[in-house]
Symmetry: C2
Subunit: 318 residues, 2 copies
């Protein structure tokens, strides 16, 4: 089959054998796959990975031994695969299993290919009401939903979101649905236009009031974004760290203590709430699609995804 293979910071089309579905796993024929910021970080060599990249997908189960009912089902999939045996797995935190593999990120070939393999337990059927073009957003939308799993946000809260990239624009929509007073710091005109169309208000970077926000979400992927978010928080407020970036960040711990600030790291999230939002048509994903390119043009899609302000590049893997 054809795939996008990453090796030594280079991405190339390659022909490889179809993945072997291990016992308990299903073979999935990929329909659409998304290019994510994490994929670009892998390509930049920030995390070590060699193999088939990609972790955002929707596809159809081609074969799942012992699970006949699943065959032919359209599915999305939780990307973390725990060992099933450690204390984290036993206590329901398999996404944090130290021995985990992660689709297209850690020790497991990914979704930028004609086929992928994932445990049957990781797969979630997609209702007919959700198109492939929407379902492929399930994984990043789940990551956006994770914020609300970790921090209660209500209509009484003032929330600042710093960063309006591919993930940020999903986060903005999820936060807006809580009825909170939401302001977003966006850099690019297309992001601003999208937010305005959604009825979501903006703050310019230089007009963020101090002590304004009950909750701030940092999704900009850089240190400046952290400091903007921190500066906007009221005492006792909560800062959600939603983007990873290389290197260390210097922060003033005493100020966190004196102001009793909470920092929360937030990564992957629950697929079912995300699918539910998509099936009800409550999240605009269609406008977030920059373009759909065939898998064979994968390297070009990655190239376009790196451009400033680029929205979601999808790969058609059929």
């Amino acid at each position: 089959m054809q795939c996008l293979w990453l090796e030594n910071k280079k991405l190339a089309l390659r022909q490889v054998a179809r993945p072997q579905a291990e016992p308990g796993e299903a073979l999935v024929r990929v329909h659409l796959a998304g290019v994510c910021g994490t994929d670009l970080q892998l390509l930049a060599g920030i995390y070590p990975f060699q193999g088939i990249v990609g972790h955002e997908f929707v596809g159809v189960v081609e074969r799942a031994d012992g699970h006949a009912a699943l065959t032919g089902q359209r599915v999305v999939g939780e990307i973390n695969v725990g060992c099933g045996d450690c204390v984290d797995c036993r206590q329901g935190r398999s996404r944090h299993c130290a021995q985990r593999t992660v689709l297209g990120i850690v020790g497991r070939h990914g979704a930028h290919a004609h086929y992928l393999a994932l445990p049957v337990d990781n797969l979630i059927p997609v209702p007919d009401s959700v198109s492939d073009r929407a379902a492929v957003f399930c994984e990043p939308l789940a990551a956006a939903c994770q914020i609300l799993e970790q921090v209660p946000v209500s209509a009484q809260d003032r929330v600042l979101l710093v960063g309006a990239g591919r993930l940020g624009l999903l986060i903005a929509q999820v936060l807006a649905r809580t009825g909170c007073t939401l302001r977003v710091v966006a850099r690019h005109d297309r992001q601003k236009d999208f937010l305005r169309q959604q009825g979501i208000a903006l703050f310019a970077e230089d007009e963020i009031p101090s002590r304004w926000a009950d909750v701030a979400v940092e999704a900009s992927g850089n240190c400046d974004g952290f400091h903007s978010a921190r500066g906007a928080l009221r005492p006792g407020g909560t800062l959600v760290l939603k983007s990873t970036y290389h290197g260390k960040n210097e922060i003033d711990f005493s100020s966190l203590v004196v102001d009793e600030i909470t920092l929360i790291g937030s990564r992957c999230g629950p697929f079912r709430p995300a699918l539910s939002l998509l099936s009800q048509g409550l999240i605009d994903t269609e406008t977030l699609i920059e373009d759909v390119l065939p898998l064979a043009q994968g390297p070009a899609a990655y190239q376009r995804a790196t451009q400033a302000g680029a929205l979601k590049l999808l790969l058609d893997c059929r």
Copy 2:
């Protein structure tokens, strides 16, 4: 009256006029006052303050215009005085009011004196069952109790406390009462002896297991303590920052995101739970008293408080 006056990193006995109780304030004759790590930081010039130091006290209300019933009452007192008018004060966060004064710390003369003045609303009567020698621990014990206001800790949790100084030994006792599996990292033999007497188990600094703790509390006052606490946390765990220290700390934000760690800054706490614990005799404060010196020997008390492993120095201000 006599007081301990701080100016230009120097502490000296000084004769000053009794404080004027403003409208709504009470004049309190101080019985006992404690020397706290924050007092030592003020003396070291880490925070700017000039005037009478001290914020841990128990005393008797000498006069409270319009509140006759309070006169003669033995009291402890919440040390933060909000403006009463800003959004933080109106929403119940007067401890975080940007215009607040803080007894002996910010813009308000403190407790290392024969008399102090505080708003009537800040004072909490001390039941007869609580001696002066116990009541004087109410403020730091409230700071220890604040941890449980911010983080639910149950008998199912594994909790690591790094640091067993004056505050740490109160925190250890508060945490132990939850029934959690508690381990404490202590440096000095007296701290270790006290903890063992309390039936609280220890970890040596070099034997802290990784991914062990559901909750870690950093009360060591230094960067190493933070890294020990962080290293002990399981993914999804919570790190409570309980000590302030000068300067910035370098941390790896990506690891906080990937492991979904929560950092919580924790400062002052609620007096009523602390008084309740003291009135039930559930916290050993007596063993934590290093010595009681007369106010006139205040500078010597501060000197002794700076010695490694020193427990609580009290000033008799009568």
